[in-house]
């Protein structure tokens, strides 16, 4: 048996980790990060002469479901054309059999790093911008399900992008608005196309049983064992601390945009801490606390119905207006009005003070 010196072992190990991109238009440059399911590589697109990011399945492919899930993520992203959602350029299978998709290389910082030295008002304005791409995704029937500060990036131009749609759920809509889901998508064509496209990419699967919520794992061949991270009822997907109760319970059929509202509320709570992420809180105002509490209600019906409503309430707070989540008493209302119209109040008080002085002097 040939003896392999240390440097050769290291070289081989590095080579093993580098994706086999032979025959593709990409050239591997650097590993950017690694998650539970996939790794993201910085690669050079040799045709368009630009750096892009390649997300590649890394988990041992014991089940084709993981490959199909990655492909679904790509298909979902491809349908969500929005400035706040990272665009997908390409997807397929590498020569070594790994599933991949290629997306825009985002240069910037994740939210948790970006906001560290930002004042509160700036953080809140940033928060409003997170809601925009999310609202768009919801309008297309897609729920993110894994929102957290590390999945939000702020680019070098200050643009906000929502990343990692690997756990996204495509809502199945039968064509009629659901009474349970306010603002539900009224067209089923998107979800149908998404599911068909994914299934076409992995021919041989039996037709999916159509269930509400359209859980992708129903597309697994009959008789196959339930894969890891399947979203069958009872399975939990998401990140602790940002998961809504229905997610924690594994009630996948209940999941809708209010699940993302919960996660967004958790992000808001995160941003309100001083410093962000420090778990030190309670120094922020009651209206903001009320907004957080409403977003993160255990009961779905008690939360904001949409992310736009949540963002609008934060906007009202920033404008010095009353927020829907909090009922002010007379003193708080007065204090808010005074705070909002500080200059006018000072001028009137100055006028009255001057008048008082005149009255006093005229008596003497």
């Amino acid at each position: 048996m040939k003896f392999l010196p240390d440097q050769v072992v290291v070289r081989l190990q590095t080579g093993m980790q580098t994706p086999d991109l032979s025959g593709t238009r990409y050239r591997a440059l650097e590993l950017l990060g690694q998650g539970g399911m996939g790794a993201v590589w910085l690669v050079q697109d040799s045709i368009l002469q630009r750096p892009v990011a390649l997300k590649i399945l890394t988990a041992e492919n014991s089940s084709a479901d993981l490959a199909a899930r990655l492909m679904q993520e790509a298909v979902v992203l491809a349908r969500l054309e929005h400035p706040g959602i990272v665009p997908v350029h390409d997807a397929g299978t590498l020569p070594d059999g790994r599933t991949f998709y290629c997306m825009k290389l985002v240069e910037g910082k994740t939210l948790d790093h970006y906001v560290l030295k930002l004042p509160l008002r700036e953080r809140l304005r940033l928060f409003q911008r997170i809601a925009e791409p999310l609202a768009f995704a919801h309008s297309r029937g897609i729920i993110h399900r894994d929102l957290k500060p590390s999945n939000v990036m702020v680019g070098s131009f200050g643009e906000v992008l929502i990343m990692d749609w690997g756990l996204a759920k495509v809502l199945n809509v039968t064509g009629a608005p659901s009474a349970q889901v306010p603002g539900a998508v009224e067209e089923s064509s998107l979800t149908k196309q998404v599911s068909e496209q994914v299934m076409d990419a992995f021919g041989g699967f039996s037709p999916a049983k159509q269930v509400s919520g359209h859980e992708f794992t129903r597309a697994v061949k009959p008789g196959a064992s339930a894969p890891e991270n399947a979203t069958a009822h009872g399975t939990i997907l998401g990140t602790p601390g940002y998961m809504a109760p229905e997610q924690e319970r594994g009630d996948v059929n209940l999941i809708d945009q209010r699940t993302d509202v919960f996660a967004l509320g958790s992000i808001l709570q995160y941003l309100l801490q001083e410093p962000p992420g420090s778990q030190q809180s309670d120094s922020y105002s009651r209206p903001l606390r009320a907004i957080c509490a409403k977003s993160m209600s255990a009961e779905m019906s008690d939360r904001y119905r949409t992310v736009q409503e949540l963002a609008a309430d934060v906007g009202r707070y920033l404008d010095g207006m009353p927020v829907s989540a909090y009922r002010e008493n007379i003193f708080e209302r007065t204090a808010r009005l005074v705070s909002r119209n500080r200059v006018a109040v000072v001028l009137v008080l100055a006028y009255l003070f001057m008048r008082l002085l005149f009255i006093l002097f005229s008596r003497h």
Partner: protein, 243 residues
């Protein structure tokens, strides 16, 4: 080490080599133990030499003894994949056996070994001298485990390429990826040496690397105790999918 004609050190009649070693079929058990021995005797020998500061002859005897007992005494019966990695279990068994023998002052020279793999201790001794020893003995064992994994995978690849009539591809891979860093030839030099086009060098290397990856994963199956351990090791060591 002599892999079977298919290039597999262990034919996968069982999904796990440990499951086969713990099974009732004596032939399967024997072959499973042989596979484990092939994968682990080098790291074990080197570990004993370093950890216990044992002379070469004593380390040879001990290594032979240990792997014989692996089969005869059914050490693997007590192994539970849920509790840890196979290599950690084996290393612990090595330590325990050594301590027991030290206590009993009872290191037997075994006459006829029960194991069927030839253990080239001369080669292992050279390797020990050639490798760098940093960190603890346990870290060294881990490192040697990786080295053995890759070395056995190279042998698998060699056999497979020979059988498939792709010896040139293997030779190019061996010259370029397994060569000394200081003397690494360029693609042009390789092309001239093997009388192929420079583009063929790229293609041959890509082919060989792809196949090497498959060989590593196949070999990893022989060296892990369960599916979970295999997946974990594949992910952490190689960051790979196994297709």
């Amino acid at each position: 080490m002599a892999p079977n004609p298919q290039g597999d050190a262990f034919p996968l009649t069982q999904h796990s080599v440990v499951a086969a070693a713990q099974g009732r079929d004596p032939e399967q058990r024997s072959r499973a133990i042989d596979a484990i021995t092939t994968s682990y005797w080098r790291p074990a020998y080197k570990y004993v030499r370093l950890r216990w500061h044992v002379e070469r002859e004593d380390a040879e005897d001990f290594t032979q003894d240990f792997f014989s007992r692996l089969l005869e005494k059914d050490f693997l019966a007590s192994y539970d994949p849920a509790k840890g990695k196979l290599r950690t279990f084996l290393r612990t068994c090595i330590d325990r056996l050594f301590m027991n023998q030290l206590r009993d002052a009872h290191r037997q020279k075994r006459g006829e070994a029960a194991i069927h793999i030839s253990l080239d201790f001369e080669e292992a001794e050279h390797e020990l001298a050639a490798s760098t020893q940093t960190g603890s003995a346990e870290d060294y064992f881990e490192k040697e485990w990786v080295r053995t994994l890759f070395a056995l995978a190279v042998e698998r690849l060699r056999t497979q390429c020979r059988q498939a009539g792709k010896t040139t591809q293997f030779a190019v891979f061996e010259r370029y990826d397994l060569g000394d860093e200081d003397n690494r030839p360029s693609y042009a030099v390789l092309a001239e040496e093997f009388r192929i086009a420079a583009t063929d060098v790229t293609n041959y290397l890509a082919f060989a690397r792809r196949e090497f990856r498959r060989c590593v994963l196949a070999q990893l199956r022989d060296m892990t105790g369960s599916d979970e351990e295999f997946h974990r090791e594949a992910r952490s060591l190689l960051g790979v999918a196994s297709k």
